[in-house]
Amino acid sequence: MHKALLAALLAVAFFVPQSSSRAAEGPALPAQAWSFKGAFGTYDRAAVRRGLQVYREVCAACHSLNLVAFRHLGDVGFQEAEIKAVAEAYKVKDGPDDAGDMFERAGRPSDYFPAPFANTKAARASNGGALPPDLSLMTKARKQGPDYVYALLTGFKAPPAGFSLMAGMNYNEHFPGRQIAMAPPLAEGALTFADGTQSSVSQMARDVTTFLSWTAEPEMEARKRLGVKVLLFLLVLTGLLYALKRAIWQKLH
């Protein structure tokens, strides 16, 4: 009896504070049915591809992706030739060369996604004083990250009557304070997906969120795959140890 009670209390002690520390900001985030949810979830490859396209054609105008190298795309099904093609589309600053000068060259798979701005001051100057954050870890850096990013991208609305929106700000009920310096980045049919998928706002938001979830947790698939094996092994081992314990202690009584 006491054991169960203590276990229950400890469970409460450890788990309640975590969930309560989120200050309620805006409406609750609707949970989306992500392909990468659950113990066996994986990144929907087609969605990652479309998401990369959304990032490159829309978000990359303002947001960097500093922690991601082109070669990393190999983890989500890109072939070497494709990776090379993506990389070569970028100009990368390199140098100094033998004459001591910096020069520009085409990107290579080992390069990282170049940032749109040279530094944070330049980024702010182009965005009305607001800093577009790096997106590499975005879905890990917010509570309920993927649901949040999706809700943010699809959550732009006309402000309710009486809401005083500051100049250059946009109403978004999922952003803390409900006004965000980012203009609605996605517009219906803004781009043409190679696989023929309709580029609705929610489709693009969903795809770019899947892509950003991969950039935040590129190890997730390997982690879950290994996890299933390790836990199954441990389950059997622990079961055997329990049987062994019973057998050995039997001799006592």
């Binding site: 006491h2 870890l137 441990l234």
Partner: protein, 411 residues
């Protein structure tokens, strides 16, 4: 104890000169242990194993980590993305810290429930308190290393506490920082100390076990072993029981590592530290929340700091504050109730610590803080004097026999 004769000539040669085999045989194999220990007695050895895991993963992390303010965050992400199995090493270290505290807190409450701190185990208990203190310092400094927003702001808030000390406070804070704010020198020294302290913990655990082996484990009925009928050799009985317990712990720990690795963490720590942007809520890791709540419950900063440190240090006095001569709460009907109330109080403190100090959290935090100290200073001595304990069994083996039917339901 029978001195074994070693048959292997190499073993015999070594043992004659350096009796490690005899020592291991006495302390790990034949070592007499009460036969009635329940599963709450598993958590000491589990904590020890988690300590080893922390040191092992930490050393590998240190091979790839860079303690510099402009590189630390990126170097951790390098470990996550480019080092072979770096994510596994880091997630085990991250979650291992939480499980270290889970094990040690259960271990500590086990001690409080069964009166394990009573004579002749006072020093054993005090060394345990030193271990917890050192663990907290280690974990706090480790949390600073990834140089995320919570790292930076947690470090700023906690180091600033020392400024409450009259006259020299501000100088002490600058001295801790190595400058005028938490900055590169702070990160460097925290890394150095975070590498050092676990080995100090290791040494303390050694002393802890030395003291333990001097008088052996206590047990759920809290009476001493009176003869061979009360004890069993450590091996195979407790080695196999500990191995099974380790299997269960690993299942849970690795369950988090593989499927919810950031469960115990704060999303804000995946944002690189920025001295110009303060997070809305600065919260320490969950295992420090009760103490954080005590700190904030007291309006005066200096008194708050004293209360916070006092809340841990008061544990040192428990062997003398508890005036009952009976060890185990099983035979102490009144103390048992207060034990559960105290546990609940600690949980409430943790809950309050996780929330912003607003509204009714302030009152609840103050009441819970009051009760925390009231429990030690008033309840423990008074209950010890006034309570009438239930009769103790004659011996451990008698209690095991008598308990065959009853105990199963109880424990």
């Amino acid at each position: 104890m029978s001195k074994p004769t070693w048959t292997n000539p190499v073993v015999r040669w070594i043992d004659y000169r350096l009796p490690v085999f005899t020592f291991a045989n006495e302390q790990l194999i034949e070592y007499p242990t009460p036969k009635n220990l329940n599963y709450w007695w598993n958590f000491g050895s589990l904590a020890g194993i988690v300590l080893v895991i922390m040191i092992a993963t930490g050393i590998f992390l240190a091979m790839h980590y860079t303690p510099h303010v402009s590189l630390a965050f990126a170097s951790v992400e390098r470990i996550m993305r480019d080092v072979n199995y770096g994510w596994l090493i880091r997630y085990i270290h991250m979650n291992g810290a939480s499980f270290f505290f889970i094990c040690v807190y259960i271990h500590l409450f086990r001690g409080l429930y069964y009166g394990s701190y009573k004579s002749p185990r006072e020093l054993l208990w005090i060394i345990g308190v030193l271990i917890i203190l050192t663990m907290m310092a280690t974990a706090f400094m480790g949390y600073v290393l990834p140089w995320g927003q919570m790292s930076f702001w947690g470090a700023t808030v906690i180091t600033n506490l020392f400024s409450a000390i009259p006259v020299v406070g501000q100088s002490i804070v600058s001295w801790l920082w190595g400058g005028f704010s938490v900055d590169n020198p702070t990160l460097n020294r925290f890394f150095s100390l975070h590498y050092l302290l676990p080995f100090i913990i290791f040494a303390l655990v050694f002393l802890h076990l030395w003291a333990l082996h001097a008088h052996h484990s206590s047990n759920p009925v809290g009476i001493d072993m009176k003869g061979p009928q009360d004890s069993i050799p450590f091996h195979p009985y407790y080695t196999v029981k500990d191995a099974f317990g380790l299997g269960v712990l690993m299942l849970v720990l690795l369950g988090f590592v593989f499927f919810a690795p950031n469960f115990f963490g704060e999303p804000d720590n995946y944002i690189e530290a920025n001295p110009l942007v303060t997070p809305t809520h600065i919260v320490p890791e969950w295992y420090l929340l009760p103490f954080y709540a005590i700190l904030r419950a007291i309006p005066n900063k200096l008194l708050g700091v004293i209360a916070m440190f006092g809340s841990i240090l008061i544990l040192v006095l428990v062997p003398w504050l508890d005036t009952s001569r009976v060890r185990s709460a099983r035979f102490r009907p009144v103390y048992r109730v207060f034990f559960w109330v105290f546990l609940l109080d600690c949980i409430v403190l943790g809950y309050v610590g996780a929330n912003p100090p607003e509204g009714y959290f302030i009152t609840v935090g103050q009441l819970a803080t009051f009760w925390y100290f009231f429990h030690f200073v008033i309840v423990l001595p008074l209950v010890g004097w006034l309570e009438r304990p239930r009769p103790l069994p004659d011996s451990i083996s008698a209690s095991v026999m008598a308990g065959k039917g009853k105990e199963a339901g109880h424990a």
